[in-house]
């Protein structure tokens, strides 16, 4: 597959069985969900309030699912650009929640860093991608000096560095997975399995078991975590067999470890952002997605998973092995 085909062509979008299976499964779930909600309401298994909440969530997913699937199916360039935009929007929510948005120079530097990371990913220039993190951090520390306001310097720059590392560098790894010719099933597997964690948590609710970290997130119980761990790992082991066919990661041991990493990483992401919200005294990061809160409330678990999956796959089989590098910037 040529670089331009991978970046821009949707012609081979459904070539991999995992891609069409996941796409059809999600589409079918969205079609069937209203019937299930109505059925549950009719037999009295859910309250009226819960039914209304599920309706809002279903409507939101009807918008969100195409927005997530379309770029992935259309081509790697759209996927990378979409993840770049998601990183910027997540940073915006974080900056508005922490108050960092008032530091315009730091915020502008982070936006520049995220934009450059997206470009390095589009160019499949891994060295630039990795170099941009320390370089952006140095730039954040430098531009913060220009205000000549040492009071609060550590806090301002630390918040800036954390924001950039989470949304520029962290989420950027998800974009970099799109430099693999097999990126569609790989990214879909990551998204669907991380969503499995959330679905398990939502279905089981707060009623089952002891809270894991009651001060951080009283809704996350030990039962939820273990159930999520089992189901997510199981899903990764099933999908992974097809995604990694013919590679060392095909073995059940590797897939077991990857499944555990995705599940634990997702739970940690959830807890990390819950902790940030409790620290700030806010309930949600924003109201961008009706029924969910902000984008960060929905995609929090993806942030740590992105780097974990990227480096696990890159270590054992490599991401984008044999693909053209520096697609736009090399002279040859």
């Amino acid at each position: 597959m040529s670089a331009s085909e991978r970046l821009f062509s949707p012609m081979r979008a459904f070539e991999h069985p995992v891609t069409y299976t996941v796409t059809i499964a999600v589409a079918a779930s969205l079609v069937l969900a209203p019937l299930v909600i109505q059925g549950l309401a009719k037999v009295g298994r859910i309250t009226d309030a819960r039914r209304r909440q599920l309706w809002v969530r279903w409507q939101t997913w009807m918008v969100m699912a195409p927005l997530v699937f379309a770029p992935i199916l259309l081509g790697a360039a759209w996927t990378i650009a979409g993840i770049g935009l998601l990183s910027l929007l997540c940073y915006r929510e974080y900056a508005r929640a922490t108050g960092l948005f008032r530091e315009k120079a730091i915020s502008l530097t982070i936006v520049l860093g995220i934009t450059l990371i997206t470009f390095a990913t589009l160019d499949n220039w891994y060295r630039l991608f990795m170099a941009l993190t320390p370089l952006t951090i140095v730039l954040i520390l430098t531009v913060a000096l220009l205000a000549d306001r040492p009071q609060g310097y550590i806090q301002r720059t630390a918040l800036g560095v954390l924001g950039f590392v989470l949304f520029g560098h962290g989420l950027g790894h998800l974009g970099h997975l799109a430099n693999d010719p097999n990126y569609r099933p790989l990214i879909l597997m990551v998204l669907v399995s991380s969503e499995m964690n959330n679905i398990v948590g939502y279905v089981l609710g707060k009623r089952t078991g002891l809270p894991l970290l009651p001060q951080t997130n009283p809704g996350k119980t030990v039962t939820n975590v273990i159930s999520g761990l089992i189901l997510t790992t199981g899903l990764v082991m099933i999908l992974g067999q097809s995604v990694f066919r013919g590679t060392v990661l095909e073995s059940w041991q590797h897939l077991l470890v990857l499944g555990v990493l995705i599940s634990v990483g997702g739970q940690l992401g959830d807890l990390m952002f819950s902790s940030i919200k409790r620290d700030l005294g806010i309930k949600d990061f924003d109201v961008t997605i009706p029924g969910h809160g902000g984008l960060l409330d929905r995609f929090d678990s993806i942030v740590p998973i992105s780097a974990i999956v990227f480096h696990y796959v890159n270590y054992f089989v490599g991401v984008g092995v044999g693909e053209s590098v520096r697609i736009w910037t090399s002279r040859g």
């Binding site: 508005r96 108050g99 948005f101 008032r102 009071q151 806090q155 806010i282 924003d286």
Partner: protein, 247 residues
Amino acid sequence: MDDWKYKPAGDLGLPHHEAFKSLKRENGLIATALHWIWWSFVRAYLNLWHSLKVEGRENLPNDPPFVLVANHCSHLDALVLSAPLDLRLRDQIFPIAAGDVFFTNPAISAFAAMMLNALPMWRKRCGPHALAELKQRLIEEPCCYILFPEGQRSRTGEMLPFKAGLGMMLAGTSVPVIPCYLKGCFEALRPETRWPVRHSIQIRIGKPITFESVPNTRSGWEQVATDLQAAVKGLGYDRVTSANWQT
């Protein structure tokens, strides 16, 4: 010493259309960039099309808080009054605009918020609570307001009496208020016309006044309004010839 405090955006949790109308709205990078573009354009337009002349620029404070007040007879007034201000302050300058004119239609509301950086004043339901909120923001943030104490555009070009509500925000505070007189705006964009015509515009900026010793009572508010009305009117008379600067 640590001066950093976690302080989420004042309009956090509000949907966009609500955030535009919120008195707690704060500017992010996109709004800042739009303000820069818009105000640079406005400045160039006023200079080229209306040959804008500014007198008394030295009376403008370098930093917030401060309030600019002026006579009001055209939709150009807020643009003209903002033109001499430093672009560095662009995010901190809030023209106070009529809510029922600028914040009822979603598109106009987005324009007023994102380009003009305006905050709404709901004329029919402007209670002490809204004024107290504006006062708090003016002092604590601190920021700058552009206010037209007549409460509406003059339909004849003649100044209308100043409303005492302004006094509620300023009595007992040390916030400098800068009286300004706008000349030529009425002729450039009359209330009954849609597009501005070519006509020269001038601003005369007076010396700052404070109302620290004025009691925060009804009589104090009225005194603030009377004093400011006299100051603005005074700027409308030519200092040399004593002729009315309006004519």
